[in-house]
């Protein structure tokens, strides 16, 4: 007889609403189920009522942490439909923003992971050094999160050459502090004990579940959209895919920390590239988007973001489909958490850096034969309430 331990939906451990049910026998997790929908906002439907320029601001708010990757994928998608080639300066700026975001997202995750295993010092430390990255964002784009930098055909704001010095200064600081973190944290025997051999995902698991991003790279699957389907300035700079072999939580920490250093190096090279381009040439004018379908991909900090858009020659998307990385990554919980103790399950859950605001879907039931909608949320509630009333009536009748 297994006991159910609920985590969520509004749990102090998580900043986002989601519900996990751990089915436990003693200390051991035997099965896991999760329930989403607390975060559903109907973005794909909303997108159909916005013009292409407005959609950027909407998809930016799919997820606040990776708020560049969604506009990135959408821009790639629209540029495929319109066959637009963007200037090199815009490519560099896009990559810089994308990589800065990866740095701040990985730092954020690392801090939270430290918090989950009871190392609040790590949490405070890492978040302290994350602030200079956000300051850079504020300097470049005017906002700490949600940057509104992207548009079809280029970017909205330039990074003037006089800002490059300040950016390099901050990058040096980040490089130094990341080295410090790698030294301090990766050699800590307690962190080794808590994360090594925990939540192991083998190469086959990754392929079977279709996991992406650092989750896959930590299990020796070298999958990265920046490499497999190059976009923006990534073909113009030298960088390598970081992988690890073990597939446990420690490997995921390792991959993310090393990726921070790799991102710093990419930004450095992009800044050198910026110096060669003429200031102000940041966009190609786009008059109209023709009818057609397009797909766009981008490597978010958590993995591949995929956008599909169908246009009909008007100013609005006819259909907009979004697939976020966490949607495939959270399925690996079935593998990584089962058989662990409850205390290890939390860090295994956190290890894929799940982002539920990206992942939310709405469920509705359709009749298999007729294809008509059977139950929406309200009908189900109504149905359930009706059943209660019927039971009340029967009980009352029996009593009298």
């Amino acid at each position: 007889m297994s006991k159910i331990i609920p985590i969520g939906p509004y749990h102090p451990l998580q900043e986002e609403p989601e519900l996990f049910k751990l089915y436990c026998e003693g200390e051991i997790v035997k099965d896991i189920k999760w329930e989403t929908g607390y975060n559903h906002r109907g973005i794909e439907k909303l997108s159909e009522s916005k013009t292409f320029d407005q959609v950027f601001f909407l998809v930016e708010r799919v997820c606040g942490i990776c708020s560049t990757s969604h506009p990135f994928a959408f821009a790639n998608c629209m540029e495929e439909i319109g066959e637009v080639e963007i200037p090199d300066r815009a490519k560099y700026i896009r990559s810089i923003i994308g990589e800065l975001e990866r740095i701040h997202s990985h730092m954020l995750w690392f801090g939270l992971a430290g918090h989950f295993i009871g190392y609040n010092t790590v949490f405070m430390w890492v978040w302290k050094y994350r602030e200079p990255v956000l300051d850079l964002f504020e300097m470049i784009t005017g906002n700490r999160n949600s940057y509104a930098m992207f548009k079809i055909g280029g970017v909205r704001r330039d990074i003037e050459n006089n800002k490059i010095g300040k950016i390099k200064e901050t990058l040096d600081l980040i490089r130094k502090k990341t080295d410090m973190l790698i030294g301090a944290v990766m050699d800590d025997p307690v962190i080794h004990a808590r994360t090594k051999g925990v939540g192991i995902l083998t190469k086959d698991d990754i392929i079977n579940y279709g996991a992406v991003g650092p989750t896959a790279r930590a299990s020796d699957v070298a999958i990265d959209v920046r490499h497999d389907n190059p976009y923006a300035a990534y073909p113009l700079v030298n960088w390598k895919i970081i992988t690890a072999k073990e597939g446990d939580v420690f490997a995921k920490v390792e991959v993310r920390l090393l990726e921070i250093l790799e991102s710093v190096s990419i930004i450095d090279q992009c800044l050198e590239g910026l110096k060669k381009e003429k200031e102000g040439e940041i966009e190609t004018k786009v008059k109209a988007i023709p009818e057609g379908i397009g797909t766009g991909r981008a490597e978010a900090p958590r993995g591949e973001v995929f956008h599909f858009v169908k246009t009909n020659g008007s100013n609005y998307p006819e259909r907009h489909k979004i697939r976020a990385p966490s949607y495939v990554n959270i399925a690996t919980f079935k593998k990584s958490c089962i058989g662990q103790t409850i205390s290890d399950a939390t860090i295994s859950l956190a290890a894929v850096d799940p982002c539920y605001c990206c992942t939310e879907r709405l469920a509705s039931v359709y009749d298999k034969d007729t294809g008509t909608k059977v139950f929406g949320g309200e009908e189900l509630i109504k149905n359930s309430q009706q059943k209660t009333r019927e039971i009340q009536k029967t009980i009352l009748r029996n009593e009298h």
């Binding site: 909407l58 799919v62 949600s146």
Partner: protein
């Protein structure tokens, strides 16, 4: 000064309810706790249960699934409680106000004492908003 007013003088304890949000406000609330902003110098800290809280922070647009749970949380909260709506979505619904699952901004569901606008509001703005609540008398409570 009555006992209830005395309780709101210092060290407000916060409970965070993240509605259907894009996660930006959530991480900015967390950022308030970290060394640069350090909200604990006002004696404020996030607590794990609404039953321990003086302040309920609500961010994100509220969808139909959240609405029921927000009402339930408000019912469980010790009264009087201060409610802060954080972010454009919490204040008005923001960009998601036209969504088909939107169930009303926070102040249509429970009484709100302070609004912190912004998308997302900077941690400084959140701190300024919450500090203004010190010594404030809570809005008229709904008996749910």
């Amino acid at each position: 000064m009555g006992f209830k007013e005395f309780c709101f003088k210092k060290s407000l304890w916060l409970f965070h309810f993240g509605g259907a949000s894009c996660n930006n406000c959530d991480i900015e609330i967390l950022a308030c706790l970290t060394p640069r902003f350090d909200v604990e110098r006002f004696g404020m800290q996030l607590v794990g249960s609404i039953r321990h809280a003086d302040v309920l922070l609500v961010n994100g647009s509220i969808n139909q699934k959240d609405k029921v749970r927000l009402l339930e949380l408000y019912r469980q909260a010790p009264k009087p409680i201060l409610v802060v709506a954080i972010g454009a979505c919490g204040c008005t619904g923001g960009i998601f106000a036209e969504s088909n699952v939107f169930a009303g901004p926070v102040d249509k569901i429970i009484p709100v004492d302070a609004y912190v606008p912004g998308c997302p509001p900077k941690p400084e703005a959140i701190i300024a908003g919450i500090v203004k609540l010190l010594n404030k008398k809570p809005a008229k409570q709904k008996t749910a």
